[in-house]
Symmetry: C3
Amino acid sequence: MSQHQITSETVARTIARVREQAPRVHVITNSVAEAFTANLLLAAGAVPSMTSSAEEVADFVSGAGALTVNLGTLDAARRVGIETAIDMAKEGEIPFVLDPVMADRSPGRCAFALEIARARPSVLRGNPGEIDSLCRARDLEPLPGALAVALRSVVAVTGTTDHVTDGHRVVEIANGHALLSRVTATGCAGAALTAACRAVEADPILAAVTALVWMGVAAEQAARLAAAPGGFAVGLIDRIASLREVDVQAEARIEVRA
Amino acid sequence: MSQHQITSETVARTIARVREQAPRVHVITNSVAEAFTANLLLAAGAVPSMTSSAEEVADFVSGAGALTVNLGTLDAARRVGIETAIDMAKEGEIPFVLDPVMADRSPGRCAFALEIARARPSVLRGNPGEIDSLCRARDLEPLPGALAVALRSVVAVTGTTDHVTDGHRVVEIANGHALLSRVTATGCAGAALTAACRAVEADPILAAVTALVWMGVAAEQAARLAAAPGGFAVGLIDRIASLREVDVQAEARIEVRA
Amino acid sequence: MSQHQITSETVARTIARVREQAPRVHVITNSVAEAFTANLLLAAGAVPSMTSSAEEVADFVSGAGALTVNLGTLDAARRVGIETAIDMAKEGEIPFVLDPVMADRSPGRCAFALEIARARPSVLRGNPGEIDSLCRARDLEPLPGALAVALRSVVAVTGTTDHVTDGHRVVEIANGHALLSRVTATGCAGAALTAACRAVEADPILAAVTALVWMGVAAEQAARLAAAPGGFAVGLIDRIASLREVDVQAEARIEVRA
């Protein structure tokens, strides 16, 4: 795992590289989140592909810059599609991001998330309830760092302040806005954005931090112009596309600990 | 079935209670409608969950404040998911809203809608064609009141004037706007909003009326600012979130008959 | 195949007829594209229906004005649904549009696209990579005209300049905007718009050209007001609905060759 300095400059440079390199990101996500996630990736400059069919998912993961797996609508067919995608990702050394969405509401999802996590996601990203349920199911202390060490992955926990850790370094990001929780799929899209960043940046901590800053600063700017969730969602997509490097450098609120 | 007065004041209070209590509403709907429905529920202050997978739907219905079942994309897997959800709703005494979408275009959907209706939906909500097809399939007069009595449910019929009835009381709502029919999933989202209202209000008539007034007044306000369907859809979400109690009281057009 | 003159006047008249006749278009598409496609059809004045379930798709294709088949998320169930839909379209002489989306990324999709194409789509519409992969799989020169002749269909190739041909006539359309490629599902929605035009116009070349001009001029107008993809997508829907015949006649950039 290569390590870079985590600063507003390296974050801004990672955003610029997504725009320059336009990585293809294959995303397996629930149908609620698909269109918003695809539009956010396109706004970011990445190229989404989205089938979850077991018959063809390997063709799409192969050659992708990164993979995102979100556990929504976990029926038998979807499980097979996810497992096929993960196998191809391992075979092709394609980094993947795991979003264990609502693992805290369904024991089956929690168990499946841990099963997939054995394939070592580059970044596991969830909210506090989801991360806690995974820690508990692994008999760990409810700490992101403990989960990161156990899974040998970077863990990103979203919240008012986001935390990203590999169990050694911890980075906190204070960007974001309450309206993000009033629009569906912003978390899922954030996980896909993490994969887009990981496709162009080998350090998963820097990739995870970049996605959180990008989304967070874009949300802050969108909220200045739109006070309600409909207009905010439109503005968020616009800002993901138009956010300038100088804005990122001026407005990123990152703190590196340890 | 508890009964409350149906007035613009009780409607405004029901909206306020959705915002205060933030009920979780589980929604099984077609993939076309999912994102808009989730965003409308979030704008209303409710919390959507949306899996239809038979393997995990019971985990999600359990503990929800209400359930909405929409019959879009009715394949074998979806039928099992819906039946599992309805069983859990009955077991947990969780109220559910049934939206027999396009039952008039497919005999299979009509038959399945009536099968599910045996579990006594709190509110059955559809357009005139859908409600007529259910009446005919049950050999009833094509009257919402007859269907309501036969099913022992409240029936809500959407249209230029909406009708809500349990077969005894009838409430008419004259709010709404023609642009609602130019945006996909406004009906499906309205059924989910009905469930959100039912989660906080035991009287299904008041719940159904509240959802129709909330959507109708929000649509009228959104249409004042946006004359075309793209901007209208964004504004509708905004107005669902920002509609004030005084606006509801001033602009609700409710008539209680009998 | 009836043939009409392809001019900005006949294009404008075809748009007017979609708005007057409000054809129902059945669309089988991937879940990413469904909501945007439905909203674009509604904005155009058409009526979308969208189930892909094998159990009920025949009920929906029957009586539709046209069918669109998009090959996204091609699992076993979807294949059966598509085949059932195509059979019903042939039986009922309902014209269909085929969108071989990402056929160039998956050999399975390419083969299935050619299998379906035996049923003679009225219009086969794709981007250059998709059309090339179909030509190559059929051992043809990589030319839209060669594919059109081999399949006895009209082939529409989207790009900076769009080409529509039956192998004899060629029409080029220079309308459009780069932001179309920054919003998901604009291609899929364009194929569905082609079907809406084909439902009211027997000449598939005029139908395909009309959809490309309608979308292209709407995109140019939307891009004048919105420089980023979120607002552009909203404005595109608005312009599809509000585009006037005089604007189409003034702004259409059509060239008929041969």
